[in-house]
């Protein structure tokens, strides 16, 4: 650190001098230029469309005709839309069940893969694979076939149960697919696990703590920041899940698997109630913000924030 200091000041001094003469050489300007591709994309493809969708949320809009401002009507409509309410229930159920299951599974596999040997790299890549392909259309199609009445799962179990056709089980086909896509959480857990100092475990072992105790007293508390991060990210993903439902169940049977996003999509582009769809999108933004805010509020009760 000591010998780096003078270098830094030497570098920044001439910049300061030039700043007066030629603003293009200003560090800030350079920064803006470097971030321009992102800023442009962010503004054009995120901020502007979001602003437009906010406007549409208060409009009667069917894409074919110009939007007509109708105030809060779209939001009022949600109150009497039974399918909308059903889709909220389904989405919450899916997100709140699949996320913890996925995290538990991810942590479990991460701990199995923690040991270093020649094959661990291979295993890590293999277990990550479902996450890469899991959200894809192809896997969804495969999944649909696997859980069909004459599919692989029934063949293995030797039964003939319509998993996708039963209102109680169809959602679980989607939940299991979501749990199976545990890879990205697993990798994050894995790197966090590696950072826990081995000395803590050694000390605990000397004190006679068994494996279970070591997990709950050392591993888990030190992992809580990572768990928190994964929980927030995956919960948001859960609320926004689309492909699985769209490809596998399309909300069938009896709307028991109707995801919020799929209903929103149908309203916007199948029935051309695009204003209503935009309003639904903004309600989802509010829901996710609220859930995230609640999570952050609970942070101080269970997330270990101290240093090692």
């Amino acid at each position: 650190m000591g010998n780096q200091q003078p270098v830094k000041t030497a570098a920044s001094a001439p910049v300061k001098k030039r700043k007066i003469g030629n603003p293009i050489n200003n560090e800030k300007t350079a920064g803006y230029i470097f971030t321009l591709p992102f800023t442009f994309g962010f503004l054009m493809f995120m901020v502007v469309p979001m602003a437009i969708s906010l406007y549409y949320a208060f409009c009667q809009y069917n894409i074919l005709q110009p939007p007509v401002f109708i105030g809060w009507d779209n939001f009022a409509k949600m109150g009497s839309d039974a399918i909308y309410q059903k889709s909220i229930g389904v989405t919450f159920y899916f997100a709140l069940v699949s996320t913890p299951l996925r995290l538990i599974f991810a942590l479990f596999v991460a701990m199995l893969l923690l040991e270093n040997n020649k094959l661990s790299g291979f295993y890590r890549a293999t277990y990550y694979l479902p996450s890469i392909i899991g959200g894809s259309v192809a896997v969804s199609v495969l999944w649909k076939r696997m859980w069909a009445t004459d599919g692989t799962i029934n063949r293995i179990l030797g039964i003939n149960f319509p998993w996708l056709g039963d209102t109680r089980t169809a959602i679980w086909v989607l939940i299991i697919l979501a749990v199976w896509q545990f890879g990205s959480s697993m990798l994050i857990f894995l790197s966090a696990l590696k950072q826990i100092p081995q000395s803590l475990y050694e000390a605990a072992m000397v004190d006679g703590a068994n494996g279970w105790k070591r997990f709950w007293k050392i591993t888990f508390p030190l992992l809580t920041p990572t768990i928190f991060f994964n929980l927030v990210m995956q919960l948001i993903n859960g609320f926004l899940a689309f492909t699985q439902c769209y490809i596998i169940t399309q909300g069938k049977p009896m709307y028991s698997t109707e995801f919020y996003t799929v209903y929103m999509y149908d309203q916007s582009f199948t029935y051309y109630n695009t204003g209503y769809g935009a309003a639904m999108a903004w309600v989802m933004v509010l829901i996710i913000s609220a859930v995230t805010a609640v999570l952050f509020a609970t942070k101080k009760f269970w997330v270990y924030d101290g240093g090692l």
Binding site: L64, I83, I132, T149, D150, M254, F269, Y271, Y272
Partner: protein, 467 residues
């Protein structure tokens, strides 16, 4: 990892893009090479000058048009070939073909219209005609029928009427279609059941029961797309199921139709609703008639459209003997109808509507075009062309022709007016209610009333909005 993923995705997208380009662009690419080829072979100085003139005009006087349609692989190929042919015959006209799947097509078209970038020539459907017409997005072609650009002398008057709204010809029928019940004769023979044309609903149910009792094969009427059969049955009662702003059918009549499903599930002869959770509804290849692997999930029939017959045959398994008859109804003459399978329309924003009209005229009235298209969109409404095309068809394609011309055309009534705004939503409501009936969560009686209420709510909301 994410880099890898992104790279793979980009590569995939590029590959797909290239495939699309190759597919879409093949027509124009083909033309240019064909054109240049012909000039070199003739090698006459005259032709050299004409090519020069043509290439010179390509920057100024050329007509560039976009023609969008939905469809299957066969249609895409044949239509692209037809475009190539047209461009050969009409140097200076360039047509870019854009094709998509049904669902994507309408989303794309809607967004195009929002961006004021509709294709010049649009393949239109009866279901969407009203919506596009009412919003002023379609060009009135009447002037071109008067000035001779479009020749309507040989056209079927009913089909002209179907594409005419408020006295304006906005859609030209691309082919004639009729509802068709396709069934596996191998199964009905085994059950000792004869299926005849113009069956009544009772006869159909009788047959279904007998087939179930003797062979175990079940029946699929329509599930997920039942608005079609409900409309069909309602026509026998003299009512238009989904009319502008309301459901125009009596709840007790609708309850009667829901009851067929309710009883079918109870008695076991109807396919279980769970089967439909595992397939893509509307896909011919996944229809329970051809997709099932045992009597439990296989149907002996499917309710579809005459121009899908060939696709069903293609998807059929060995040993299946597919035949075609009419949908059953209490009054087949009142129920049955000929339908324009799809239309060609010109968008109101087309730069050169006359050129677009000329192309549509060529598609519908010329032998050149129809020798390539071969009635894939349905039977040509130009009677001369239809008979000429029919002579070149395979035995199976001809079956469709005879079915439409000899069975349906002789015993049918006028088609319902174009589907009102909100039809899709009302149809979804119907299928949702039907699902509840089939899952035993709602009685048929209740369902009839529910459909009137919910369907009317959907249709009325749209009718109010379009005013």
């Amino acid at each position: 990892m994410s880099k890898l993923k992104r790279g793979a995705a980009a590569a995939l997208a590029a590959a797909m893009g290239a495939g699309l380009l190759a597919g879409c662009g093949s027509s124009s690419g083909g033309t240019t090479s064909a054109a240049s080829g012909s000039t070199t072979t003739t090698a006459a100085s005259g032709s050299a000058t004409t090519t020069k003139a043509a290439s010179g005009s390509s920057s100024s006087g050329d007509t560039n048009m976009v023609f969008a349609w939905w469809g299957n692989q066969t249609r895409n190929e044949r239509t692209s070939n037809a475009i190539t042919k047209y461009q050969e015959q009409n140097p200076g006209v360039k047509i870019e073909g854009q094709f998509s799947e049904w669902n994507d097509y309408w989303q794309k078209l809607a967004t195009n219209s929002a961006g004021n970038a509709l294709p010049d020539i649009i393949q239109m459907d009866y279901q969407y005609l009203n919506q596009y017409m009412n919003t002023g997005l379609l060009y009135d072609l009447t002037e071109f029928t008067k000035d001779g650009t479009i020749d309507t002398s040989k056209w079927n008057q009913n089909m002209i009427n179907a594409g005419t709204m408020n006295g304006k010809l906005v859609a030209v029928c691309a082919g004639i279609n009729a509802p068709a019940l396709v069934y596996d004769k191998a199964i009905t023979d085994k059950a000792g059941v004869t299926i005849k044309d113009n069956m009544s609903i009772d006869e159909f149910i009788e047959a279904s029961k007998k087939i179930y009792e003797t062979t175990g094969y079940k029946t699929n009427i329509q599930y997920g797309t039942a608005q079609e059969i409900f409309s069909y049955w309602s026509r026998a009662d003299g009512s238009i199921l989904f009319n502008t702003g309301k459901v125009d059918a009596k709840p007790e009549n609708l309850a009667k139709y829901f009851k067929i499903y309710e009883d079918g599930e109870k008695d076991g002869w109807m396919l279980s609703p769970t089967v439909f959770a595992e397939i893509t509804i509307g896909s011919v290849e996944q229809d329970p008639l051809v997709y099932g692997d045992n009597p439990e999930n296989q149907s002996w029939c499917t309710f579809c459209w005459s121009n899908q017959y060939v696709a069903v045959l293609k998807a059929a398994k060995e040993g299946q003997d597919m035949q075609m008859t009419t949908w059953p109804s209490a009054d087949p003459k009142k129920s049955d109808f000929l339908k324009p399978s799809q239309f060609f329309s010109v968008s109101a924003s087309a730069k050169n509507p006359k050129a677009a009209a000329a192309f549509i005229n060529w598609l519908t009235n010329s032998e050149d075009a129809n020798n390539i298209l071969l009635g894939e969109r349905g039977i040509p409404m130009n009677s001369d062309i239809a008979s000429k095309v029919s002579a070149q068809l395979s035995e199976n394609d001809q079956k469709t022709y005879t079915f439409v011309n000899d069975v349906v055309a002789k015993n049918c009534s006028d088609i319902n007016p174009p589907y009102p705004d909100g039809y899709t939503e009302a149809g979804k409501a119907l299928n949702t209610i039907l699902e509840a009936v089939c899952y035993g969560q709602e009685t048929a009686e209740q369902a009839g009333q529910d459909l009137v209420d919910q369907g009317t709510a959907a249709l009325a909301a749209k009718a109010a909005a379009s005013k």
